[in-house]
């Protein structure tokens, strides 16, 4: 992945942008929750991004 240009956008500020994404964010939130759940159950490893 290419790094951000020159500004550290802040991790919290990035996550907040999902919440601020309105209706379009529903799918993203669901997928993120699902991935986190799988990770917690150790079905998927942390670094597995495929």
């Amino acid at each position: 992945m290419t790094p951000f240009a020159y500004l550290d956008p802040g991790s919290g500020s990035l996550l907040l942008q999902i919440i601020l994404g309105g209706v379009a964010a529903i799918g993203v939130t669901a997928k993120m929750g699902w991935r986190r759940l799988l990770r917690t159950l150790r079905i998927r490893r942390d670094d597995d991004d495929s």
């Binding site: 500004l7 999902i18 919440i19 601020l20 993203v28 993120m32």
Partner: protein, 451 residues
């Protein structure tokens, strides 16, 4: 064409190494693009939104003079967000959000969200950092959102919801107001605070230092540009609705209450007009801008220390479509200093283009009595500007001067008098012309610096 070696770097342009601003020996504003920025530029140049914004002047006039080298139009006078009243900061925010919204539709994004990327043609904002646009990559959020909050949104909310003018804060911190600070300052139940402030602070505290992981996670979860667009539109709506809350102002409506007649004001206008043409005039203590409008100058910087007065002047000028008068909030007893890295990143007021005419009307008594600035000090500062000067002096018998003196111990300003003032003025300036006003209690001088 100039060689790279003969160009002078702009001291404020070091943060983004992809697109640095430099000056040619002739004073042209140039931007040197890295190979990556050059690719972004090539793509940007052909987009509809960019061409449209160049045409209507929302983005600074820009041409590519050789591969990887851009030339920008020079703005008449550089100013900073801590010199803008509420209305100007809001206007600059809306320009930025509007451009971002249009850019997203064409597959571009801004890599930052800084008000320092906006300058002014009079009352019209212009976006000057062409290097801020880059192609939007899949799964990437808007990297400038946090900066937009700290430097635009929180300062605006602070004034809209609390009635606290943010200029002192912005001048004190070039990074603006942090989410944790904004959370402590702002009321909980007002529009925008829950998400952009409280949640922002909580998420920031919880996920500190995980930017890399979070980006990977967002990308994997299918983050897409519709989310940025939704956020940008919400922000536009929020910012567009904000109104300045202001306390009492000594200076708003000052002219109506001022102790001089309309006839005097007309004579002052004529005197100012007859001072001749200037490329750049400074009107110090501009109030409602009457004399900034009268002066014969290509551009005027209209300075006043009262945020409300400057906000109202800006709104009036914006209504008139003025492209020549730039109103700024500056306390002349404490003008903007050098700020940022080595104190040169944001320059002192006096170092951003010298005027060739300075108006100093109904001001001397306020500085000399109100702020205890000695005549000799005031004259030395004015002489340092090295420009023609129209200056007004109000004698001890003037009603405004009496009001100011009444607030002080009698002996503090014993040396406040016309003779003392003229002596100080003559020490550094040749007096070319003078005219009496208000039945002799006030005098106008046209002066030229002594060489």
């Amino acid at each position: 064409m100039t060689t790279t070696a003969s160009r002078t770097p702009e001291p404020a342009s070091f943060r983004d190494p992809e697109a640095r601003v430099v000056y040619s020996p002739e004073g042209d504003v140039l931007r040197e693009l890295s190979p990556r920025a050059q690719q972004d530029w090539a793509a940007l140049e052909s987009t509809r939104f960019f061409r449209r914004a160049l045409e209507d002047g929302r983005i600074v006039a820009t041409e590519e003079i050789s591969p990887g080298l851009l030339r920008h139009e020079r703005v008449p006078f550089v100013s900073y967000p801590y010199e803008w009243p509420f209305e100007m900061l809001r206007e600059a925010a809306l320009l930025q959000l509007g451009l971002l919204d249009e850019a997203l539709a064409d597959g571009f994004v801004l890599k930052d969200g800084s008000p320092y990327n906006v300058q002014w043609h009079g009352s019209e904002p212009v976006f000057v950092d062409v290097g801020s646009f880059e192609r939007l990559r899949d799964g990437e959020p808007w990297a400038g959102y946090r900066q937009f909050c700290t430097l635009f949104l929180y300062p605006l909310l602070l004034q809209a919801y609390r009635g606290i003018t943010p200029q002192a804060w912005l001048r004190g911190s070039l990074e603006g107001i942090e989410p944790s600070q904004a959370r402590a300052l702002l009321p909980r139940f007002r529009r925008g605070v829950l998400t952009h402030v409280i949640l922002h602070d909580r998420l920031e505290a919880k996920h500190a230092g995980r930017t890399g992981d979070v980006r990977a996670e967002l990308k994997a979860s299918g983050f897409r540009k519709e989310l940025i667009q939704a956020n940008v539109r919400r922000l536009r709506k929020l910012v567009g609705r904000l109104r300045p809350r202001r306390g009492r102002s000594t200076w708003a409506g000052y002219r109506e209450a001022a102790p001089y007649s309309d006839e005097d004001a007309q004579r002052k206008e004529r005197f100012v007009r007859e001072a001749g043409h200037a490329r750049l005039a400074w009107d110090l203590g501009a109030n409602d801008g009457r004399f900034a409008r009268a002066v014969n100058a290509d551009n005027v910087v209209a300075v006043d220390g009262d945020e409300r007065v400057v906000g109202e002047l800006f709104a009036a000028l914006r209504g008139e479509g003025s492209r020549t008068i730039l109103p700024l909030v500056v306390d002349l007893a404490d003008p903007s200093p050098g700020r940022g890295w080595r104190g040169v990143e944001r320059r002192r007021l006096e170092e951003r283009g010298r005027p060739d005419l300075v108006l100093c009307l109904a001001l001397v008594h306020h500085l000399a009595i109100g702020r205890n600035v000695p005549f000799a000090e005031l004259v030395r500062w004015l002489r340092g500007l090295d420009s023609r000067l129209v200056i007004e002096f109000a004698g001890r018998d003037d009603p405004m001067v009496q009001r100011l003196l009444a607030a002080k111990r009698a002996e503090t300003h014993e040396d406040y008098g016309r003779d003392q003032f003229e002596r100080a003025l003559r020490g550094a300036f040749e007096l070319e012309r003078q005219e009496e006003l208000s039945a002799g209690t006030r005098t106008l001088y046209l002066a030229r610096p002594r060489v």
